[in-house]
């Protein structure tokens, strides 16, 4: 933590294991020792296994399906197709446009067509292979730039446009003495979570179903499952199973409805687990983007205007494409002051794999473009690359490009200064080949290696935007167990590895002064916690837990006041004791609780956001902004095009670090994921076919690719947020990749307007 930030931090009484402390995660030891039960470890007596048959074609009409051969395989209990979906054969996060099982058309390679339940996973897979599907292959649109052409095949009616966002501000015809522009392309990144999709559906006696599943938002799943099954919510009960990472890839449904359908049909518990290859077809990916940017500036580098055109390939179904376009459009110029702006952001349907949520959500793609162009502007006007960002960077009180006032800290200049001033890594040491580009590949002993340094700054909205009713629910119960006060916190907010359950415990400890806090399993037995995405859970579910604790505390104080014959206003709850005005101990918490628990449930909302104007894109679209900066230092073997990231240092304002260790962990992981996109992570899709659906060829960084990081955390409290928190998870993913790309450009002197940067882009071969 940086000391100078302390003055603006909310001061919180130190409670051991409370807010601001770093208690052990309740799931930490289990995960490290391999004992944690992930969704893939789910088990039930008499359980059978589900498997999915998927389309081999990016676009085809289904002329017929013959399941006879599959049904006759011994061990098979059910084979279901679209005709067996009892409710509406449709799901989707924003629009229910995706069939549970394809009926007339398949629109992407890997689309589910039929499902099987059998006594063994292998039997189920083999049975799926025996299903005969008669496809009439149709022309596919796989180039997003062609998707809106008049003669392009329509993926959906009426056409292939998902959303077009227009944003206009200031002078409609701006002029500037210095103009720079570029085209930039970002490839398709995958979330590559380590725990593939998995769930277990158990049929209930009431004709309903209990689903245990790894997901990001139980209630939005429940809503979609109910629609497809034709069942009311009380008959579709969800419990979160152990989640092995999410990063947006579990916002859309995967095994959910399929497992429930098979369970209800067979009357048996049904488990479905994807392998790694199927996982690549079983969830949405980060949108590939094609972008054109133009910045106009004064000769001193002061920004005058920006024009930008962003095209996101949404793939075959809407998923969250519209919201990604919303983010790309409203935030896609970065944390800078632009008097005049014209942005057009498009999301289109193609027959490519569906794209949706992934950490950074529309801002990641844009940041590569705006940060590359800021460097080019700096060079064009002869100003230092960090300085030009500091001069044009947002400050608290500025108005962003949608006309929204930034009403809490916006320390752009400071964050950049911090990363610039951090110690530089030592110079190249050719004696250890692991430190060189190519590493143990033994491709250089120092020959051709050039060092480059790059900087980037980015910002991201926290929470759901554009008028979405974004809330979370928390139930907190305080009671005596074995003579000791214990708090139980129940939310439906998904723990996906980020540490939310620890944060929930910490908040209860701080608010109620009790040491023992039990986290109830995450279920739909309590109201919605909202999505574990948009860096929002510590803010929104944290806010709900805090509010529920406050309600519990108020009841406790009322009870104590009644017992003592005093007014509640004179009393305080601290360290499991009730204190009077001058701190004297009046009662133990246990005396107040007796045998009657106190339980309160609270629904908590952040400040409302608003839709943007459809013509100008103006409006208070977002509730909070989070800023982060990176400095990357790379060694590039310019002859072979191989890169070694030597340092990737970062500074981020988190408002208040509820759990400082977890904050730094998020920054480490997010930085690695952004670096991965800059250098290696790409799903290669040719003519609608995924060519590398495996970890053999979809490369994610290893420990030899990721340098140790220096991380500086600022804590400028946001006065509108609980404890002053600011979302943490996504910003590092946004600024790290552009910093790495900038460093590679600096080392090679090449424009490199596409990521991931492949060796051949550097060598020109």
């Amino acid at each position: 933590m940086s000391a100078e930030a302390g003055t603006r931090t909310t001061r919180i009484t130190a409670t051991p294991g409370g807010v601001g402390d770093t208690p052990l995660r309740p799931d930490g030891t289990l995960k490290v020792t391999g004992e944690f039960a992930y969704a893939s470890d789910l088990w039930h007596d008499e359980m059978v296994w589900g498997a999915t048959l998927r389309s081999p074609h990016p676009h085809a009409r289904i002329a017929g399906i013959d399941i006879t051969e599959a049904l006759t395989l011994p061990g098979v209990f059910a084979v279901l197709t679209a005709a067996d979906v009892p409710g509406e054969n449709a799901f989707g996060l924003e629009h229910a446009d995706q069939p549970v099982l394809a009926s007339e058309f398949v629109r992407y390679e890997g689309e589910p067509v039929a499902i099987v339940a059998a006594d063994h996973p292998e039997t189920a897979r083999r049975a799926a292979q025996r299903i005969r599907v008669d496809y009439e292959v149709l022309p596919a649109v796989t180039d997003p730039r062609r998707a809106m052409d008049a003669d392009a095949p329509a993926v959906h009616r009426p056409g292939n446009l998902v959303r077009h966002l227009t944003l206009r501000r200031g002078n409609p015809d701006p002029k500037a003495p210095v103009v720079v522009s570029l085209d930039f392309e970002v490839g398709m990144q995958d979330q590559a979570f380590l725990g593939p999709e998995s769930g277990l559906a158990v049929p209930g006696d009431d004709g309903g179903v209990d689903l245990y599943v790894a997901t990001q938002w139980l209630h939005v799943d429940q809503r979609q499952i109910c629609l497809a099954l034709g069942l009311p919510p009380e008959k579709v009960r969800l419990t979160l199973a152990g989640v092995g990472g999410a990063f947006g890839g579990r916002e859309d449904l995967s095994v959910h409805v399929h497992a429930c359908l098979l369970a209800l049909r067979t009357g048996k518990p049904v488990k479905m687990s994807y392998g790694r290859e199927e996982s690549f077809f079983g969830h949405v990916h980060r949108h590939p983007a094609t972008m054109t940017y133009e910045f106009g500036a004064e000769r001193d580098g002061t920004l005058v205007y920006a024009k930008a055109n962003l095209l996101f390939d949404g793939g075959a179904y809407a998923s969250s494409t519209a919201a990604v376009v919303g983010n790309g459009g409203t935030l896609g110029l970065g944390p800078y002051r632009f008097p005049s702006v014209a942005v057009d952001a498009y999301g289109v349907f193609t027959n490519n794999p569906p794209c949706g949520a992934m950490r950074g959500f529309g801002c990641v793609q844009a940041a590569f473009a705006h940060e590359a162009l800021m460097d080019e502007l700096a060079d064009a006007v002869g100003v230092d690359r960090v300085e030009i960002r500091q001069r044009n960077g947002m400050r608290e009180g500025d108005v962003n490009i949608t006309g929204q006032v930034i009403d809490s800290a916006a320390p752009v200049a400071e964050l950049l200064q911090i990363v610039r001033d951090l110690p530089m890594p030592p110079p190249l040491d050719p004696s250890d080949i692991r430190a060189l580009p190519g590493a143990v590949g033994n491709t250089t002993h120092g020959e051709g290696v050039v060092r480059g340094v790059g900087y980037a700054i980015a910002y991201k909205n926290v929470g759901f935007s554009e008028g979405f009713d974004d809330y979370s629910t928390a139930r907190v119960r305080l009671e005596l167990t074995g003579g000791e006060p214990v708090a139980t916190v129940h939310t439906a907010a998904a723990e996906v590895g980020q540490g939310l359950i620890t944060v929930e415990q910490q908040i209860c400890r701080t608010e109620l002064g009790v040491e023992r806090v039990v986290v109830h399993p995450k279920t739909t037995g309590v109201g919605s916690g909202g999505s574990t995405s948009a860096s929002r859970q510590t803010y929104v579910t944290g806010g709900a837990v805090k509010a529920a604790c406050e309600s519990v505390r108020a009841v406790v104080l009322e009870r104590a006041a009644a017992l003592l014959g005093r007014s509640a206003g004179e009393l305080r709850l601290d360290g499991e004791k009730l204190l009077g005005a001058s701190g004297e101990v009046l009662l133990g918490l246990g005396d107040v609780l007796g045998t009657e628990a106190v339980e309160e449930t609270v629904e908590w909302r952040h400040r409302p956001t608003h839709a943007i104007d459809p013509e100008t894109g103006q409006g208070n679209a977002h509730v909070q902004f989070a800023f982060s900066a990176h400095r990357a230092v790379v060694d590039v073997d310019v002859e072979l095009g191989l890169v070694k990231v030597v340092a990737l240092d970062s500074a981020q304002d988190v408002g208040k670090a509820i759990n400082p260790d977890a904050v730094v962990g998020q920054i480490h992981g997010g930085s690695a994921q952004g670096m991965g996109l800059a250098l290696m992570e790409e799903m290669v899709v040719t003519d609608g076919h995924v060519r590398n659906p495996s970890f053999t060829d979809y490369l994610i960084p290893t420990i030899l690719d990721m340098p140790p990081m220096q991380v500086q955390v600022l804590e400028y409290a946001d006065p509108h947020a609980p404890y002053g928190v600011r979302g943490v998870g996504e910003p590092p993913t946004i600024s790290s990749g552009p910093a790495v790309a900038a460093a590679v450009r600096a080392a090679t002197g090449k424009a490199l307007h596409r990521v991931p940067i492949r060796p051949e882009h550097i060598t020109g071969t």
Partner: protein, 290 residues
């Protein structure tokens, strides 16, 4: 699927002869991937893990006889001095777990053009020792062992017993390009060996042709140039243009394709760079040793 688990080399050969539908299983790092993906459904697995002879290695008339079942970790740990090229290649294979399970016999059995053991075996002039119960043992020069994409010269009733590799008489090098810094399948790879005793150069190319292959023209070109310039005797520095010309000839011997891992053009380019650098390092090592 039957699971056959012989405990001696003789039994293994007998079973191999009896069960042409059996698939030999060494470390399983290729076999189990294929089975899990349902790419292969052999009638039986012939597990060689209990055959002690396959895990042995020793000296044999100036050659190292490396049992087909010796894992990469064993080569790195024990044979770095005698087989420096193979040991360097072994260090780049997969992850520690894969290096503990995976074997050179398995690499040869799979005969993938991307297999990392192949270039150093080619450069060293290794010989593959294969055997059958019916016909006994035969030796196949490794360059003749690779017959096509993922195909090799084994007869259906044969097993690989060992690889016979001349102990290094001079410096060896191995270089491998991948798009990340560890745990990566080669985009292209190159190995070279200096044989100062015979005044010859050995080469091996990986991931840049349907099979692993040598670059014979580059070998004779460089050996000849070294001869002409008296460099074998003088041990003077290797002239840069000569190293570069060698690199170009190595690239010329390749016939790569474009695939998801890299372009054909990049493979050619990277081969020429790796070959130029690697031969220079090897030559410098030779000079230092002198």
């Amino acid at each position: 699927m039957d699971f056959l688990q012989p405990t001696s080399w003789q039994d293994a050969l007998a079973l191999r002869g009896e069960r042409p539908d059996a698939l030999p299983l060494a470390g399983g790092t290729d076999v189990m991937v294929d089975i899990n993906f349902d790419r292969r459904r052999p009638g039986a697995l012939l597990d060689l893990g209990r055959v002690p002879e396959l895990r042995e290695w020793g000296q044999d008339d100036g050659r190292i006889r490396l049992g087909a079942g010796v894992p990469y970790a064993g080569i790195i740990g024990n044979l770095g001095a005698q087989l420096p090229g193979l040991a360097m290649a072994s260090r780049t294979v997969g992850s520690p777990q894969i290096r503990i399970r995976g074997t050179v016999g398995g690499n040869l059995g799979s005969a993938s053009p991307a297999g990392d053991a192949h270039p150093p075996l080619l450069a060293a002039g290794a010989v593959v020792e294969v055997a059958s119960a019916a016909r006994g043992t035969r030796e196949i020069p490794v360059a003749e062992f690779y017959t096509g994409v993922k195909r090799n010269a084994l007869e259906p009733d044969e097993l690989i017993a060992a690889v016979l590799i001349p102990a290094a008489s001079g410096p060896q090098q191995f270089s491998k390009v991948g798009t990340r810094n560890a745990m990566v399948i080669a985009v292209s790879a190159f190995a070279c060996a200096l044989h100062p005793d015979r005044r010859e150069i050995g080469t091996g190319i990986g991931s840049a042709a349907p099979t692993p292959r040598r670059a014979p023209e580059a070998e004779t070109f460089l050996a000849g140039e070294l001869d002409d310039a008296g460099l074998w005797d003088s041990r003077n520095a290797l002239p840069e243009p000569l190293a570069a010309a060698f690199g170009e000839r190595v690239a010329a011997a390749a016939s790569p394709i474009d695939d998801v891992r890299g372009s054909a053009a990049y493979r050619l380019h990277s081969l020429s760079v790796m070959a130029r650098r690697a031969i220079t390092w090897a030559w410098n090592d030779l000079r230092e040793a002198a």
